[in-house]
Structures are given as structure tokens and as C-alpha cells.
């Protein structure tokens, strides 16, 4: 069963990341998540929105980023949608965290955090274009 959806829609300025963080944290907290889980959800959403602003819109602050939260059963679900250039997350290699610092490629950390902090992360390309990221986290589930 899906709950009422709550949504925030902002322009693709990095300055709006803070507003999104406040919105998502409030929704996650109201869902009954622990403060640690709230922090993790906020971080995953921040990374997804940063990707939309930096990669999909390539820094253009006039784009639109929509974040929608709802409950589905015992899961807190967040959708991040943009209308920017299609971003192929599967083409981004995971960072090799075992490499020495001098050899380490520093890209891919945002996607790494999204996958680590959420129970499920799905990337989609809506028919109308842009990108959609659907992230799920079980309330009261793992928080590490």
C-alpha cells in the first residue's frame, strides 16, 4: 500500500540542495526512521540531486529537479526526477577503495554512497526524457 506522496520541486541550483535536505529529512523522520537512517537517506538523496544538477543539467541552474517521497509498505521511497541529459549510472565504475590514495580514481563516490546507504537504487529513463532515480530504504532496517 502506498501512502500520500510529498513533493518538492526546485531549480537545479546547488544552493537548493539544503532545501531538499530539510524536506527529505522531515519526511524520513515522520516515517519513523532513526536519526541515523534519516541522515543516510538525506545523504543518498543529496548525492542523487547533485548528480542531476551537475551531470544531467551540466551546471545549468535553470533546470528542474523534483523529489517525491512516500511510504510503500515498510519502505520509505524517494524518487528524484530531472529533465536533463540522460545519465548512464551503470557506466560509472565503482570507486576502488582498496587502492592506495595516490592511485585512487576519485570519481563515482556519490553513486557508491547511494547504493551503500539505501536498500535499493533503480535508475530509469522516463519516456518524456531526463532521468529518474528510485531509492528505497526499509524503516527500521539496516543502518550501516
Amino acid at each position: 500500500m502506498t501512502s500520500t506522496q510529498h513533493e518538492i520541486c526546485v531549480t537545479s541550483e546547488l544552493a537548493n540542495l539544503a532545501n531538499i535536505g530539510v524536506f527529505v529529512s522531515e519526511r524520513a523522520r515522520l516515517s519513523g526512521m532513526s536519526e541515523k537512517q534519516v541522515f543516510q537517506v538525506q545523504m543518498a538523496v543529496d548525492e542523487a540531486c547533485t548528480n542531476a544538477m551537475v551531470h544531467a543539467y551540466q551546471g545549468d541552474p535553470e533546470g528542474e529537479v523534483r523529489v517525491c517521497c512516500y511510504l510503500e509498505g515498510n519502505e520509505f521511497v524517494v524518487e528524484v526526477v530531472d529533465q536533463g541529459q540522460v545519465f548512464d549510472a551503470t557506466a560509472v565504475p565503482e570507486p576502488d577503495l582498496g587502492k592506495p590514495i595516490e592511485d585512487r580514481d576519485i570519481g563515482g563516490l556519490g553513486l557508491f554512497f547511494m547504493r551503500k546507504l539505501m536498500d535499493s537504487v533503480v535508475f530509469a529513463t522516463p519516456s518524456e526524457g531526463g532521468n529518474q532515480v528510485i531509492m528505497r530504504k526499509r524503516i527500521g532496517g539496516r543502518s550501516s
Partner: protein, 108 residues
């Protein structure tokens, strides 16, 4: 007798505050780069007032750490909140970035 005011300062302190997401990177990068280019040998980043760090900021700190290593300077992070430490541990940065008390820093 040496004049202490003429000696280069050995250490510097940077103390960002609040939420450090991607929008905070340019300012933090400028401060870190300025301190390293000024030749400070010991650069301390006090995170006691920081509530959040995104991957963009971690990249910025990692690059500063690399630059510090290359010029034989020392970059350390102090007063890291446990929740931020969780983030560092998750990506292994806790094994890379140093954490120790600052030594007589001066504000950049």
C-alpha cells in the same frame, strides 16, 4: 636573535561550519588551496561545527590531502562528529585522512 614575526607560520586552521554539500566546495577548495599554496606545513580542518559532508566535499578533502602529501605538508581533520565519521569509514577515508588535535593553529 630571530624575529618571530618574520618566520613563516607552520600551521593553519580552517573551520567550516554547517552543511557541506556540493555548493560548499568552491569556498572550501579556495581556503584549502590558499593555505597549501602559502606553504603551511600543518593544515588542520576543524569539523566541530559541520553537520553534513557530501561526496563532493570528500573529494575536495582528498585532493587537498594529495596536494599536502606532494609538498610534504600534513593535513588533518579534527573534531569529526560520529555521524560524519560513519561516512568516512564507509568509503575508507578514515584510513587515509589523519585525525589528531591541532597544534597551535592560526586562522587562515
Amino acid at each position: 636573535m630571530s624575529d618571530a614575526s618574520q618566520e613563516p607560520q607552520a600551521s593553519a586552521l580552517i573551520a567550516p561550519a554547517g552543511r557541506l554539500d556540493a555548493s560548499a566546495v568552491p569556498a572550501l577548495d579556495r581556503k584549502l588551496s590558499a593555505a597549501l599554496e602559502a606553504g603551511f606545513r600543518h593544515l588542520t580542518v576543524d569539523l566541530s561545527q559541520v553537520t553534513y559532508i557530501s561526496s563532493s566535499v570528500l573529494r575536495c578533502l582528498l585532493l587537498a590531502h594529495r596536494q599536502a602529501d606532494q609538498q610534504e605538508s600534513y593535513l588533518e581533520l579534527v573534531q569529526v562528529h560520529p555521524r560524519l565519521m560513519d561516512t568516512f569509514e564507509l568509503c575508507g577515508f578514515d584510513r587515509i585522512l589523519h585525525c589528531s588535535p591541532p597544534s597551535l593553529p592560526s586562522v587562515v
